[in-house]
Chain length 447, copies 2
C-alpha cells in the first residue's frame, strides 16, 4: 500500500478526553475517530488490526470446536421478558420502539437469542455438544463511557454459547473455551492469567476473567509468581480429550490469582494472599480481556430449551457463555506494548508487516530501490506500507514509530547510492545497514 | 468439517411466510432463521456464504482503490439535522433515545457520518481522490419486510463514498465503482446489467442500478440484446487509467436498458424501447443488486466539507455513494441459480467446495475411503463437508442437493469394495464412477 494513496490521518495532539495511553495512541495514529460518546469509527489502520485480532479469535474458536454464526444486533424484547432479564438490565440496555411500536433493543449480549435458536432446531442429546459463537456489535449504554474503545458503548464482542446434556459435559465445554482463551491471548502477544470472577448480570456459579498484566492496567490484581513459568498449550492440542483439557485448566487454576474486587469481597482470597510467601507474590496492574461463565440451566429452564436424553426423558440443557471483546483486546495490546514514541505491534496483529520509508521521493535511485523492495516483499507475502509521501524525514520517522509496524526499511539517497538500506526493529530500536538484496532476504525470512 | 459435529438444521417444510424461492431454500437449507419481522440470524452455512460474498465485494473494492473503514451502527441525530435529512427519512429510520435522552438512530446509510470523517481530517486537494467504504449492518424499518434477506429490516450493506475536487474527477470515481460492480457481480456468478435509476432519498443527478436477470426476479426490466455479448473487464484492468475506465462505462451504458419504474415514468424510455427492433428486445425479470449515486455537493455544502484547491481557494468536495447489499446479493444468487432439488452454488461463493457422502458409516472400508478423500482434498486446499451421519442414503442425497455444493463425492460400500467412488456435479446432475485416486485428482484440479 502506498501511503500517498492511503488514508492515515495522524494527529499531532492528544485528544483532550483521552485518559489512557491506548486511547491517545489510537487517536493519534489515525486508527479511530469518536463519533458520539463511546461510539467510534474504525479508520483504515484500526480496521486492519481489528480484522487481525478477530481472525485469531475466530481461528482459536474453530480449533476448540465452536461454530460461527451471526445473530442480528436488534432483538425483540419478548425473548428477554421470557428469560426474566428484561428488567434486570437497567439503563445499560438500549431500548428501541420500532414503527409498529414493538419493544426492541440493541443486544448487549445474546444468551436469550442463541437459546431461541437452539430450542428451534435441536431435539436430541445426539446433536450435542454444541457451541455456537458470533462476532457482532453490541451496545451497552454505559453511564460514563471512557478509555476509548476499552469501555465504549457500541463495541465488538465475540460471544460463544455452549449447550450440553449435563453438568459434566458442560464443564468440559467450559474447559475447552478456557484453554482456547489462553491460546487466543498468547497469539495476540499477551500473557493472560485466569482469575475467579463474579458472574454479574449473566448469572451462574462458575466464572473466570482473563487478565492481562500491563503497567497502565485499569485494576489491581494479585497472583502467584508460578504463572510466570506456565506455557500455553500448543496448537495441536486435542480438544476432544476432555481429561487432557481439564488437566490444563486444573494447572492454570491452582495457583492463587484474584482481582481487587474479589480481594475486597472474599475473605478466602485475602487469607490466601496473606498466606503466600513474599517472593511468591505478584501484585500488578491488569486489564480484563475475556470473561467466561458457566450458568447451567439459568436460561434453558425459563426458555424451555431441552433435549431428549439417552434415557428417553427431557433434559434442560446445561449452558455456558464465553466473551472476548476484540476492540477492547486491541486496546489492551497497546497498553501492554508501547513506548514514548508510539505503539509497538506484536507481529501477529500488526496492520502491516513492514514500513518502507523513502527518504527522498523523486530521487530516481531511491524510488527504484523502494519499488524493488516493495515488490519483492509483497511477492514474499508481506504487507508493506510504503511511505512515498513528500513529508520531511523527521515526520516520516515519527509516523513510522507512532503506528508501530514491527520492521522498518529506510531508503536514503546516500545509502542507496552504495546499494544499501537500513533496517530498524521497532521494538528494540536496533538499526542495521544491509545491501538491498540482503535486506529483502532478511525481511522475507522474518515473516 | 464433519457434518456430525456441524450445525446444519435442515427443514422439511417451507416456512409459511416465504413467498420467494431464495427465502424458502435459505430457510430449508438451514442458512438463516428469522428472529423478528425482517431480522435474521445467519446460521453456519449461511454465514459461510455471506463471508465469501463479502470477500469478493471487498477484493473488488480494494482493486478499484477504495479503502476499508468501519463506521458504527448507532449514529447521532445531529449529523442528520445538519445535512437536512433527519426529517426526510420518515418512518423507515429507526430512531433511538439513549439514557441521556439524546436523539440517536440506527444508521440506514452513512453519507453524513463519512462526510464528518472527511471534514475532520482532509484539508487539501492533494489528499484526493479518496474513496472510503465499509461493510456494516444497516436498519431500515420497512413497512412490510418480506422476501427473507432480500428485503429485511436489518441488513448488511457495503457502502462506499468518494470525495473529489471537482465534477470531472468525481465522475472518474463513479466510473471506477461502476466497473468494479460489473466485476463483483460476475465473480458471484451473475450477469448484471446497469440501468439508469431514480436517486430517491440519497439524492443527486446521476445514478445506476445493477440488475441481475432471474426468472423469479422482483421487477420487470427491459434491455437491448447487445448486453448478452458484453465481456466484463479483466482483473488486471488499470483503474488509474481514467479514459479506459470511462470507455468501459460508455460501452455498458450505450445500449438501451430500463426498469419498469423508469419505463412508467419516463417518456424517453418508452420511446426508446418502442424504437428497438423486435429481435433486439429482451424483456425479463430482474433483481437489483447494487446502486450507485453521484450527488456532487449535496452533503459537502451543508456539512462544510471542503478542501483547498490548487488555486488556493476552498472547494466543496464532489461526492458519490455506492451500495451493494451482500445479504441481498446472496438471495439474488439463489434466485438465479437453483432447481427443484435446491440451491446450485457458483463455485466462487459455495459454502464448501465438496460434499463427501459416506453411504455406510461404520463400514470399515467406507470410513477409510472417506477419511482418505477428506484428508487429501483438505490438503489440496478444498473445503469439504463430510456427511458422516447415520441418516439414510435418500436423506443424505436430498440434503446434498438442497445445500447445493458444486461437487459431491459418494462413497457406497459396493463401489468402495472395488476401490471406486462416484462423483456428481450438482449443476448438471452428471455422475461418474472413478477410482478413489482419480477422484481425488479430479476434484483437486477443479479447485
Amino acid at each position: 500500500m502506498r501511503l500517498s494513496k492511503y488514508f492515515l490521518p495522524i494527529l499531532k495532539e492528544n485528544p483532550k478526553d483521552a485518559e489512557i495511553v491506548s486511547h491517545r495512541l489510537m487517536a493519534r495514529a489515525g486508527m479511530i475517530k469518536q463519533q458520539s460518546a463511546g461510539i467510534y469509527s474504525w479508520l483504515p489502520l484500526g480496521k486492519r488490526v481489528l480484522d487481525k485480532v478477530c481472525d485469531i479469535v475466530r481461528e482459536e474458536q474453530n480449533r476448540a470446536g465452536a461454530i460461527e454464526i451471526l445473530m442480528p444486533t436488534v432483538q425483540s424484547a419478548d425473548l428477554w421478558i421470557e428469560s426474566g432479564r428484561y428488567n434486570d438490565y437497567g439503563d445499560e440496555m438500549l431500548r428501541i420502539k420500532d414503527r409498529q411500536d414493538r419493544a426492541m433493543l440493541f443486544g448487549p449480549t445474546n444468551e436469550e437469542m442463541v437459546t431461541d435458536i437452539f430450542r428451534s432446531y435441536v431435539k436430541s442429546y445426539k446433536d450435542l455438544p454444541l457451541n455456537l459463537y458470533h462476532i457482532q456489535w453490541k451496545f451497552r449504554d454505559e453511564r460514563r463511557p471512557r478509555f476509548g474503545v476499552m469501555r465504549g458503548r457500541e463495541f465488538l464482542m465475540k460471544d460463544a454459547y455452549s449447550f450440553d446434556l449435563d453438568y459434566e459435559a458442560s464443564k468440559a465445554a467450559y474447559n475447552r473455551m478456557f484453554v482456547s482463551y489462553l491460546r487466543t491471548f498468547e497469539r495476540c502477544g499477551l500473557k493472560s492469567i485466569p482469575m475467579r470472577a463474579d458472574t454479574g448480570p449473566i448469572g451462574g456459579s462458575l466464572s473466570h476473567e482473563f487478565i492481562v498484566l500491563a503497567e497502565t492496567g485499569e485494576s489491581q490484581v494479585f497472583c502467584h509468581r508460578d504463572f510466570e513459568g506456565f506455557a500455553v498449550p500448543p496448537a495441536d492440542l486435542n480438544y476432544d480429550d476432555d481429561a487432557a483439557v481439564a488437566g490444563i485448566v486444573e494447572k492454570w487454576t491452582t495457583p492463587f490469582a484474584a482481582t481487587d474486587e474479589i480481594m475486597e469481597k472474599e475473605d478466602w482470597a485475602r487469607a490466601a494472599w496473606d498466606g503466600l510467601a513474599e517472593e511468591a507474590r505478584v501484585s500488578a496492574r491488569g486489564i480484563e480481556v475475556g470473561h467466561i461463565f458457566h450458568f447451567g440451566t439459568k436460561y434453558s429452564e425459563p426458555m424451555n430449551a431441552y433435549v431428549q436424553g439417552p434415557d428417553g426423558k427431557q433434559h434442560f440443557v446445561s449452558m455456558g457463555s464465553y466473551g472476548i471483546g476484540p476492540s477492547r483486546l486491541l486496546g489492551a495490546i497497546i497498553e501492554a506494548s508501547h513506548d514514548e514514541a508510539g505503539i509497538i505491534w506484536p507481529k501477529s496483529v500488526a496492520p502491516f508487516d513492514v514500513g518502507l520509508i523513502n527518504m527522498k521521493p523523486g530521487d530516481t535511485a531511491c524510488d527504484a530501490a523502494c519499488e524493488k523492495i516493495e515488490a519483492a516483499l509483497e511477492n514474499a507475502g508481506l504487507d508493506v506500507l510504503y511511505d512515498d509521501t513528500d513529508e520531511r524525514a523527521g515526520a516520516k520517522f515519527a509516523t513510522a514509530d507512532l503506528i508501530g509496524l514491527p520492521l522498518q526499511v529506510i531508503a536514503g539517497p546516500r545509502a542507496v547510492a552504495e546499494g544499501n538500506v537500513e533496517i530498524k526493529v521497532r521494538a528494540t530500536g536496533e538499526r542495521e545497514t544491509l545491501s538491498i538484496e540482503a535486506a529483502i532476504n532478511r525481511l522475507a525470512e522474518a515473516r
